[in-house]
């Protein structure tokens, strides 16, 4: 039995992106839920399974059910970091296909910018890393970037071009948080934090949230907006701590991408638009390689000189990504929501003409968890 095309996203909404003064993380989350249900034309009481993962509330699934006044048949709170939401969609598809649930809600929200001004996390440093004071999670990604540069000759300029492309997309997105012009020189001149990464290599610290609603494909067209079908999904978990990652240049995206594309029956060249969790510039290079959009070691040249910017050879992170659009701690759900916007043809100035097939990819921990979703329009079924 395959899950290909068995479930669809029928509602999606953003909430509180940027700065949501005076709102709690769960309040932002619930605003997103309200928006996604309205978008889907579904009443709250129809929701019979919920999924979330919030950084500080270990029992966030229970809090969510409580705040919605629901007694769900299933409450999913699986926590793998920012990739969780792309795993939630797979569990949702399983529950729907097995008829253990009929309407699944997946959501997230965080007020980290207005509440603390920095990443809010319940995580401490691992026992065997803490004595050396790596910045969490930045230094782990810096080590991966350093290794990629050593092994493949990836350059500082190529890393910068990832951030420049994200900004160029953000300038086409009125909802993006940072839309000022950004050049390669600006990125390279920005404040060094953990070599080789600089401030402009790092995702934003914003508030924000979002929600999606999933239903079985057979009823997915009974809603106001065109359904976006889940064609494939896959996961890869390679470690928890960066010191335990076998090869810092190869992530679990190789496995998650292979699984997801295998289920969907597609190859990288078929994908029209790509949404990757860009916590740091190096992520995009690693994931493009591991997902098969280019060969291992060639991610630097692939992203250079506008390769993934508007007008480049592959549109990546069309909302501006975590680098320029929104990054409230865990970004995964935003890859899904932007993919939905693109596949509905509802992405305004940044719309990719004729987008039928999208790849959304989430990262959790320190390159630890990788989860890929392949999404498509009705034409791809």
């Amino acid at each position: 039995m395959s899950l290909r095309g068995k479930a669809a996203i029928v509602g999606a909404a953003l909430a509180g992106c940027g700065e949501a003064h005076g709102k709690s993380s769960m309040e932002i989350t619930i605003e997103g839920v309200h928006g996604a249900l309205a978008d889907a034309g579904i009443a709250l009481g129809e929701v019979d399974a919920v999924a979330t993962c919030q950084p500080l509330d270990m029992l966030s699934g229970l809090t969510l059910a409580q705040e919605l006044g629901l007694n769900p048949r299933f409450t999913m709170n699986n926590r793998m970091g920012g990739s969780s939401f792309l795993s939630h969609t797979l569990w949702a598809a399983m529950l729907l296909e097995l008829r253990l649930a009929d309407t699944v809600l997946i959501c997230y929200g965080s007020n980290q910018r207005t509440a603390s001004g920095k990443l809010m996390t319940a995580l401490g440093l691992p026992t065997y890393e803490a004595p050396y004071r790596p910045l969490f999670p930045l230094s782990s990604y810096a080590l991966a970037a350093d290794r990629h540069m050593t092994q493949f000759g990836t350059t500082r300029e190529q890393l910068a071009d990832v951030a420049v492309a994200a900004r160029a997309w953000a300038q086409k997105n009125p909802d993006a948080f940072m839309r000022d012009p950004l050049t390669r020189e600006d990125v390279i001149a920005s404040r060094p934090v953990s070599d080789p990464l600089r401030v402009r290599d790092c995702c934003l610290v914003t508030d924000g949230g979002g929600a999606i609603v999933m239903r079985r494909a057979e009823t997915a067209k009974d809603h106001p907006k065109p359904p976006v079908y889940l064609l494939g999904g896959g996961e890869g978990t390679t470690h928890r701590d960066i010191s335990e990652m076998e090869d810092l240049t190869v992530t679990g995206a190789a496995q998650s991408g292979r699984t997801a594309m295998g289920m969907a029956g597609v190859k990288p060249a078929d994908i029209d638009v790509v949404q990757l969790y860009d916590a740091f510039t190096i992520n995009v290079i690693l994931f493009l390689e591991d997902l098969g959009f280019c060969n291992k070691g060639e991610g630097g040249p692939f992203v250079a000189n506008g390769g993934i910017a508007p007008g480049g050879h592959l549109p990546v992170n069309t909302n501006g990504g975590g680098l320029s659009c929104v990054h409230p701690g865990m970004y995964g759900i935003f890859t899904l929501i932007e993919a939905v916007r693109q596949l509905r043809g509802d992405a305004g100035d940044r719309q990719i003409d004729g987008a039928e097939l999208a790849l959304a990819h989430g990262n959790g921990g320190v390159l630890s968890s990788q989860v890929t979703n392949i999404l498509g329009t009705e034409a791809t079924l």
Binding site: A130, R133, L143, D146, R147, V193, D195, P196
Partner: protein
């Protein structure tokens, strides 16, 4: 001898050895794999037959970062991943060399120094440098 169900767990054993000035890691009696960080069962084969063994202390830098910090807050420091000759990797710090001269491939030797809280921690120096 620690083992499943007997005595303290591997983390506590490692810490106690380090406090006595001894840097040892585990080696699997079943498949011969060296294991770090300390574990209850061998991640290569699942065996609980893990014994503490001495090391050559020699390693090679795999990757490095320099955390940039204002001088008044303590200044810059390096964080590295070192591959030990025995085939395991660990996070550490390289002392006795300018941060910018630390590159992947640098040969280093382990010693016991101080971690962030002044606790004993394994650190490295460039090979051939006196402690």
């Amino acid at each position: 001898m620690a083992g499943i169900g007997q005595g303290p767990g591997p983390d506590a054993v490692f810490a106690a050895k380090l406090a006595e000035g001894v840097f040892e890691i585990q080696k699997c009696g079943s498949c011969g794999t060296h294991v770090f960080h300390p574990r209850v069962i061998c991640p290569a084969c699942g065996s609980a037959d893990l014994k503490w063994v001495a090391l050559t202390g020699r390693g090679t830098v795999y990757a490095r970062t320099v955390v940039r910090r204002k001088p008044e807050r303590g200044g810059d420091y390096n964080v590295v991943l070192v591959d030990l000759e025995e085939g395991v990797r660990m996070m550490s710090r390289i002392d006795g060399i300018a941060h910018d001269q630390i590159v992947a491939g640098l040969k280093v030797t382990a010693s016991i120094g101080e971690g962030a809280e002044g606790d004993p921690a394994v650190i490295f120096r460039p090979e051939g440098e006196a402690n």
